[in-house]
Symmetry: C2
Subunit: 325 residues, 2 copies
């Protein structure tokens, strides 16, 4: 298959006009109808920084690229709309690899009802996928920022934490002492994160005051909310739901499960702040959306900063994740 | 300056909320108000493929990345709105270089009234800049696609062609036999293309039936219009306006000026098709917008394909540009 054929093959798999998409790929720009407000986020994953081959298959790379971008829309409570993808293709990724990577993008697009509305493909010395996602909401007030939490608000998280971090360690160091089933599940948390779109939408509708996706790590992302809301966050690490199998795998690897859950990122769960009286309704709404919501702390005075305390009274370090990665 | 400081420095230079921008950078997504239709295009430039250092300064790389993306909006006749930038930073581009690259983006944003609404920055083994631009129009019918030309329509181009191609040769081979003034001007056409936004808007308002920006080369881009409109294009190369100094520089380099103007891309001028009776009004509108418009041919029967004929009767080859670059 030649390079023109590859582009034609990819283009033929993009959706036809319909719904919001008034003009699809193949012209100078895609044209979409607009109403309400757009929430737009860009996110890139780069070989050697965010993933390695062959640990990550081309399909997993495609899945991950779109999922992590959509996670930002989930954290706003926006409904996913369109995605635009730039693919940087090195010489050693052949056409079949490109098509498989695209299949990963398509799978996530189908699961989340996101339209792949356009893209660009270029040669590059290193494989990268840069994704722009556009979400929609009726009005600005429908969306949840990082900046609306107030002292006294309850802090909650969706799903379970730490799985992606220990999954990465299992990939890097091998799976000795960990059952195949558990290893597989934890590695999937690393390679194929799921954007919590339905949960984010439910939380936004339930009056969440602030929201962020946990990509940099619980401590670092809590710090972002603290800084932008002007509050502190007191988090009880004993209450944080841990990924099933995390304790076993961390033990086998000689790692501290709580450190992994607090300090490492890439779980792509949501951290939300809620007024005390909206927590139960929010939890029910998240469960209705197919997820779980667990209270893990409270917003406190800004002076206190972000505290991650374990049951023993031990304080976990809030690690600042280097964002230039 | 540390990496966090760099991100903070870049973020502090992004625009404040205002106008269409309801929530700027620093949250999970930027929020913009929407009305009418959005035209969205993505475009990436990669070191070693689209530019080389130090031939291209960081500022020129930033300028080029945003200009080439905006050129796609010009080709639709859309008004520029927002831009989202992903910057892949290799180890050997220091913080000062990143800031200078950003200055190039800022300069083009200011010149074109485009809002830098968000972005992402990541480590990468190779420098790349991926830009998503969003333009606006009242309705779908306000925008011009590649697919609306009909047999008998006139074919016209803005500005002059061939400058970017010979500018690249001057960079690669040196400037022997070419005056400094001419070399500088031609090299600028390569390194700092200008998106023809005002011209594109004027052409759209003047009833252009099809439009494309000349990025792949006159012949290749004419072929795109031909394929999507279902017409042939008969182009008189003797009528094509050549970049001032092109003939002199091509002569010094032993190259054919017409071949460069017909076969090489990156001029980022616009090719437009117009009904015969709208050409004069379109020309006046483009001149009012600060540009020039030159008739170079006519749409013919699809069977005839794309023909580039020089005065002597010589036919220039229509080169297919490899899009995977």
């Amino acid at each position: 298959m030649g390079e023109f054929d590859l582009i034609a093959a990819l283009r033929s798999r993009l959706p036809e006009e319909g719904g919001r998409l008034l003009l699809g790929s193949g012209d100078d720009a895609a044209v979409t109808s607009a109403d309400g407000v757009n929430a737009t986020s860009v996110d890139a994953i780069v070989e050697g920084v965010h993933f390695r081959r062959p640990q990550s298959s081309p399909e997993a790379i495609g899945r991950r690229a779109l999922s992590t971008a959509l996670s930002d829309l989930a954290a706003m409570g926006a409904a996913p709309g369109e995605a635009y993808v730039v693919l940087g293709v090195p010489e050693d990724l052949d056409e079949a690899g490109c098509l498989t990577l695209f299949s990963g993008l398509e799978a996530v697009a189908a699961e989340t009802e996101t339209l792949l509305a356009g893209g660009d493909i270029t040669r590059s010395a290193v494989l990268f996928v840069a994704v722009t996602v556009v979400g929609h909401a009726p009005e600005r007030e429908s969306l949840v920022t990082r900046g609306g939490a107030a002292e006294g608000d309850v802090v909650a998280v969706t799903g379970e934490l730490g799985g992606a971090a220990v999954g990465l360690l299992l990939l890097e160091r091998g799976q000795d002492g960990v059952s195949d089933e558990i290893a597989e599940r934890l590695i999937a948390r690393q390679l194929s994160p799921r954007p919590r779109l339905a949960e984010g939408s439910a939380l936004a509708a339930s009056g969440a005051t602030a929201m962020i996706d946990i990509s940099d790590g619980l401590g670092a992302d809590a710090s972002h909310v603290a800084a932008q809301s002007g509050v502190g966050l007191d988090i009880d690490m004993s209450a944080v739901p841990l990924a099933p199998g995390l304790a076993e795998a961390a033990g086998a690897l000689g790692e501290d499960a709580l450190e992994l859950a607090a300090g490492e990122g890439e779980d792509y769960e949501l951290l939300a702040c809620l007024r005390e009286d909206s927590v139960e309704a929010a939890r029910a709404a998240v469960v209705d959306a197919g997820g779980t919501l667990t209270v893990i702390g409270r917003c406190i005075d800004a002076e206190a900063g972000v505290r991650l305390s374990a049951a023993s009274g031990r304080e976990l370090r809030v690690r600042g994740f280097d964002q230039l990665t």
